[in-house]
Point group: C2
Chain length 401, copies 2
């Protein structure tokens, strides 16, 4: 047949593969140093602990661990997540405020589906996590961007925009924000700024979708309490993930929110996949209960701090002075601004031919601005790969000036 | 806050919890004999094999099994599924025709999203799998129903409907069909009927979404080749699942389709959850490779045949003669037609008070007809629960006459 076009739905025809994803696919099976992904260093996976846990779970409760389970999640895990999320300052919640998803990606997908309609006014940071943007784009909201500064998104600018929208009779539905070790900017919102954002949300009556993917991975200074911890009105929908602190291959994320929202998530997820894998949930529950994650975290943070330092040193050595870059306080990425004349999307193919991949920064801007920026990952490549790859990139950038 | 209504999207407000799901939730934690679910008997889970496989996978390839992987699935599993699906007669495919999903539910969700637009003409069997119907309903197609007979959906009636639609200038997009051990009817399409359906699909140029959930669970007579095996034009999108033959808690399903469709599924899934859990995929790949599933299947079929016989005997003993029922050739369910005056949805609460749950049959009809029908599961309850539960149900039905 091969004539599928007439059979595809409208949204399918809108959902076209990004040129970047297609380009990055070319790295598969090739000798390319990849700064593109957001992969944890596999040496951080607590393999022996996971093995032991699975053995015991299958010995003692295989008939639940291998069976269908509840859509909102296995009760044992939801209970453990109540105490685990308390480590991010979130209290006064119970099991019914917890929802387990197939990675926090699924939580983003469901949340934006249950909340956002075409034309809704939605705030995002500039830049922000590209896959969240991709999900949001399908919902066709009207985007409003807030530039990220060292102390977090520029809330004064946001307040002006909010005022203007209000004066035009337009209602803002939500802000999607990564307050801690922001992806891709690597910055963390100051505590006073967090309080200021909560005041804005209350004054202008909008919701906050807080993506706390890196909340446990801050290695310089403190990790301030999450926005959810400051939420007295039930406005914050909090997203956590096991991908960066246990294993991404288990595909486990969680949501903390008002019980009413949890019920809506549940109803939607029933259609998507019935429930998150049971065995995986028991593994995560035990990994919290036995302190496996808590014990592992300081080592992971140390490793990523060292890798970040190696990358920063290499950038200082090999990139021309005209390049500006962040010094992330946590997370997995350095973000860089190249001279305006360089288009990092156009440069990617050449970089890959030279043996290095990165993500062009424009993907992280809802309006595809930032065409001279790039995101560079340091958590996955080895130390020697970081040094070699940054040298190659530096030479390429220099050749463009 | 607690005033969520203004924040919800349009589709959320349409996606209301079914009264049946709410009723069945009441069984949780209570002493109710449940004929409602579609749960495998946990004694069929090959626990020791799974334990051994996981140990070895974590010993030898933890850095891939616990890491992010490709959206379409782990290559090892996709390769194994090429040979495994050959057991259902499907040949001339390769790894690129395979897509791995979080249970076949996710495959249904993505397929109907990428294919169906509001107002599209879609054929379904009457009755058919309720959760597939739920996903379809959100897409708002125009439904056309084909009654299920002992030899499969009534294709003569379908052909008349197709002719009429064509004469009105209306194009049919797809048929969703469960040809083997149909859920809930328990019937299997004859081979000649399968060929006839393929001819109709070709003549009227529509797609077939074939749900083969029970293709490996036919215990009376043969399991005829799947529709995909008869597909010479790439019209059939085949869905398989590990839920009934290995473990539902692993949440693994797969799709076999034209490579172009696989790419669209991949693109959509990227937004939904990035990928299906890696470790789980390695488990399934090894379970096929080592013959665990193939060895286990005859025992599972034997067990379900025996349980079916116990249920049929109990129905013959305890249900009044006015009740008609199927004698399923495979799968997990008996479907029953009660006298017209009994509304099984209304009767459910009373049944549960008496200690028995089932699924009212109207959920399996796109037009909510069949209000006097019920689906009764025999795979999960114990033999004594089957006997006791059917006796209770029989008495309740008799009291209504």
């Amino acid at each position: 047949m091969a004539k599928w076009q007439p059979f595809l739905s409208k949204q399918t025809n809108e959902l076209k593969s990004s040129e970047i994803r297609d380009l990055l696919k070319l790295t598969e099976g090739r000798e390319v140093i990849s700064f593109a992904g957001g992969l944890p260093d596999p040496s951080t996976f607590p393999v022996e602990d996971i093995k032991k846990i699975i053995d015991e779970v299958l010995d003692t409760k295989s008939s639940s661990a291998l069976q269908y389970t509840a859509t909102a999640g296995v009760s044992e895990l939801r209970k453990q997540l109540v105490s685990f999320t308390a480590l991010r300052g979130v209290t006064n919640i119970n099991e019914n405020n917890i929802f387990v998803s197939v990675g926090s990606q699924e939580a983003l997908f469901i949340i934006f589906n249950i909340l956002v309609d075409q034309g809704d006014h939605v705030f995002v940071e500039k830049p922000t996590y590209l896959t969240a943007l991709n999900v949001l784009r399908v919902r066709k909201p009207e985007f409003h961007g807030v530039p990220v500064t060292e102390k977090g998104p520029n809330l004064h600018e946001m307040e002006s925009q909010l005022k203007k929208l209000k004066s035009e009779g337009k209602r803002v539905k939500l802000m999607y924000v990564i307050p801690t070790a922001q992806n891709p900017a690597g910055t963390t919102m100051y505590l006073e700024e967090r309080k200021y954002l909560m005041e804005l949300a209350s004054a202008y009556d909008f919701l906050i979708v807080e993506d706390d993917a890196y909340g446990f991975l801050v290695f310089d200074g403190d990790s301030p309490p999450s926005l959810k911890a400051l939420d007295t009105e039930g406005r914050v929908i909090y997203l956590g993930t096991f991908s960066k602190i246990l294993s991404p291959g288990l595909r486990l994320g969680w949501v903390v929110a008002d019980e009413e929202i949890i019920r809506e998530l549940e109803l939607f997820k029933q259609n998507v996949d019935l429930h998150t894998p049971s065995l995986n949930q028991f593994v995560a529950a035990e990994a919290i209960k036995r302190g496996v994650i808590q014990t592992n975290l300081p080592k992971t943070r140390d490793l990523y701090r060292r890798k970040r330092d190696i990358m920063i040193d290499a950038i200082n050595n090999y990139f021309p002075d005209a390049v500006k870059r962040t010094k992330p306080v946590g997370g997995m990425f350095v973000f860089a601004w190249l001279p305006e004349k360089i288009d990092t999307t156009k440069m990617l193919q050449e970089a890959m031919e030279n043996g290095v991949a990165y993500v062009p920064g424009s993907s992280f801007f809802y309006d595809y601005s930032g065409r001279n920026t790039m995101r560079i990952n340091y958590s996955f490549p080895s130390k020697s790969q970081i040094e070699r790859g940054i040298e190659i990139l530096g030479n390429l950038i220099k050749s463009k000036l």
